[in-house]
């Protein structure tokens, strides 16, 4: 129905992420991450340095004292925030695109991605597990596969997918897998490999709809982040949204119905705060 070799080729033709972002992703995920290394890396990237200083000196940074060096900015914000800034800036040009095959207008995929990344930042408060630092990236990029997949989904294929969903009650991902022998999660994993992101980011993206198959906690966390992003979007639109999280996933993350009840509104509030602070969406 679609040419898989061509699909893979297109995934591998996406422009690369900036080298500094890829290197930062490796550093932040490493137990040997040293502040000095992060500072040195950023210092060689003028654009990132400028963005970092702007963020560290913004009115919402919580400090009246201005910072003038990368070292001071990294110390103020912390490596996780610095990495989030770098990754978000790098991914934004890709994720702002329209993806009509998924009913995503310009900016919609970006907003969903930011919401998932915000969710990834707050889930450690609610989950009874150690959250890998790569979770933010996996959450931010979890739907990146839609960018390439969307180019191949013509009205005829979309019609078959819709019928598979209606008749056999499959979700979108299952319908894609049945009819196309590939789904947007797998394609996103392929793009993450092409971007040389850490293997657990690849796993989180690939299995964000079916975390059991990924056999790594980042898959559960990315799945949860996606669900929380949908909750945030529904909340902002005034719609109801019920979390669809498999029992096994909830158990592995130590989530209860009560924690999910608390997590949703907290995520909406945090998302609004991030949007104001970084003018993110």
């Amino acid at each position: 129905m679609i040419d898989l070799d061509r699909l893979i080729e297109q995934a591998n033709e996406l422009a690369p992420l900036p080298a500094s972002t890829v290197r930062l992703a490796e550093m932040v995920g490493s137990p040997d991450c040293h502040l000095d290394d992060v500072v040195e890396l950023i210092s060689f990237d003028q654009a990132l340095t400028a963005r970092l200083l702007r963020a560290a000196n913004s009115a919402t940074s919580g400090s009246a004292i201005r910072v003038g060096t990368v070292q001071e900015a990294v110390t103020r914000m912390g490596t996780a925030q610095v990495f989030a800034l770098a990754m978000s800036s790098s991914a934004r040009p890709f994720l702002r695109a329209r993806v009509p095959a998924y009913n995503l207008g310009e900016g919609a995929l970006w907003r969903h991605s930011v919401a998932a990344a915000v969710a990834a930042e707050i889930v450690p408060v609610f989950c009874q597990i150690v959250v890998p630092p790569e979770t933010f990236t996996a959450a931010l990029l979890h739907d990146v596969g839609k960018l390439v997949m969307g180019r191949f989904l013509n009205p005829e294929i979309l019609g078959f997918i819709r019928r598979a969903q209606e008749i056999d009650h499959l979700d979108r991902l299952e319908a894609e897998a049945l009819l196309l022998n590939v789904h947007h999660g797998e394609l996103g994993g392929l793009i993450a490999q092409h971007w040389k992101l850490p293997p657990c980011v690849v796993l989180g993206i690939t299995y964000h709809h079916n975390p059991d198959q990924g056999r790594h906690v980042i898959c559960d966390l990315t799945c949860l982040s996606n669900q929380v992003a949908k909750f945030i979007e529904a909340g902002l639109d005034g719609r109801q949204f019920n979390f669809a999280i498999a029992r096994e996933t909830a158990q592995r993350l130590g989530l209860t119905p009560e924690t999910l009840t608390d997590l949703g509104p907290f995520a909406v509030s945090r998302y609004s705060q991030v949007c104001r602070r970084y003018n993110a969406v």
Partner: protein, 272 residues
């Protein structure tokens, strides 16, 4: 797709392969015929069906049946059956077969080869001495095209991403541009054959381990019973049958007993 065309296709596919296409699967038939129509320059599913109806059985008839097969597979699919192989089944059978140093395996729905190659990697990793034994490894499938791919041992990046740990990828595959090729010395240990599970099973030796995973689900109850009865005849008394997670012998063939391992179930013949 009109009801008459759908009935024609589902009856033809059932006659030829025993695969059941339930009412409601029109979209699936249509989508798969669409691909075939494009590949064969025949324009539309309707044009294919017209040709099938008017021509005597030929290559196109075969391609239609092949197109209706589902070839979903992955390396180490579901993982737990492979854990059972590693922890219990192979050590036990190796001890029993030590005098003859012979083990016979059969993958009955081998698709593009991921299952037999997963078993071979498992053997090479954990039981390398077994590679010195007299091993017969037969892998069969209904569809000739997927078997040709299995024989070639070539996989794209999406396929190697499915279930294959990076450490095994670099150890057992050679990269050729965008594709990965399974190591030839292991590949040639598998004998791939076309075989219709609903028809003749001649040519299979007595078997120690039979994989019939995720294939019974496509058949009706009578065909499932026939397949299990045939399996009984070729499975050695102490051999193992492995089915898919959604499949069972329960209510189909009482001669099999469930054997539960950690997170998976296998089947053996009940003692006579």
């Amino acid at each position: 797709m009109n009801p008459d065309d759908f009935d024609y296709i589902r009856n033809y596919v059932r006659d030829q392969s025993a695969i059941v296409l339930e009412p409601g699967k029109e979209y699936l038939v249509e989508s798969r015929l669409q691909i075939l129509a494009r590949n064969q320059n025949l324009g539309s599913p309707e044009a294919i069906i017209k040709r099938l109806r008017s021509d005597s059985p030929n290559g196109l008839h075969r391609k239609v049946v092949d197109a209706m097969t589902t070839n979903e597979t992955s390396f180490f699919r579901d993982l737990h059956p492979f854990e059972a192989l590693r922890k219990t089944i192979l050590p036990e059978l190796m001890a029993r077969r030590a005098p003859t140093r012979q083990l016979n395996f059969w993958c009955g729905a081998a698709s593009t080869g991921q299952e037999p190659y997963s078993v071979l990697m498992l053997i090479a990793e954990h039981f390398p001495e077994l590679l010195q034994w007299n091993i017969t490894f037969i892998a069969t499938d209904l569809c000739g095209d997927v078997l040709a791919r299995a024989r070639s041992g070539h996989f794209n990046q999406l396929e190697v991403n499915r279930g294959l740990p990076a450490s095994l990828l670099v150890k057992y595959f050679v990269q050729h541009g965008a594709h990965w090729e399974f190591r030839e010395d292991l590949r040639r240990r598998v004998e791939f054959r076309e075989m219709n599970l609903a028809k003749d099973w001649s040519g299979l030796p007595p078997l120690d381990i039979v994989f019939l995973r995720n294939v019974l689900i496509y058949f009706d109850v009578e065909v499932k019973k026939t397949i299990l009865a045939k399996t009984r005849k070729i499975l050695r008394p102490d051999g193992y049958l492995l089915l898919g997670g959604a499949e069972t012998t329960f209510n189909l063939d009482d001669a099999f007993a469930r054997v539960s391992f950690d997170k998976t179930t296998c089947y053996r013949m009940k003692p006579a």
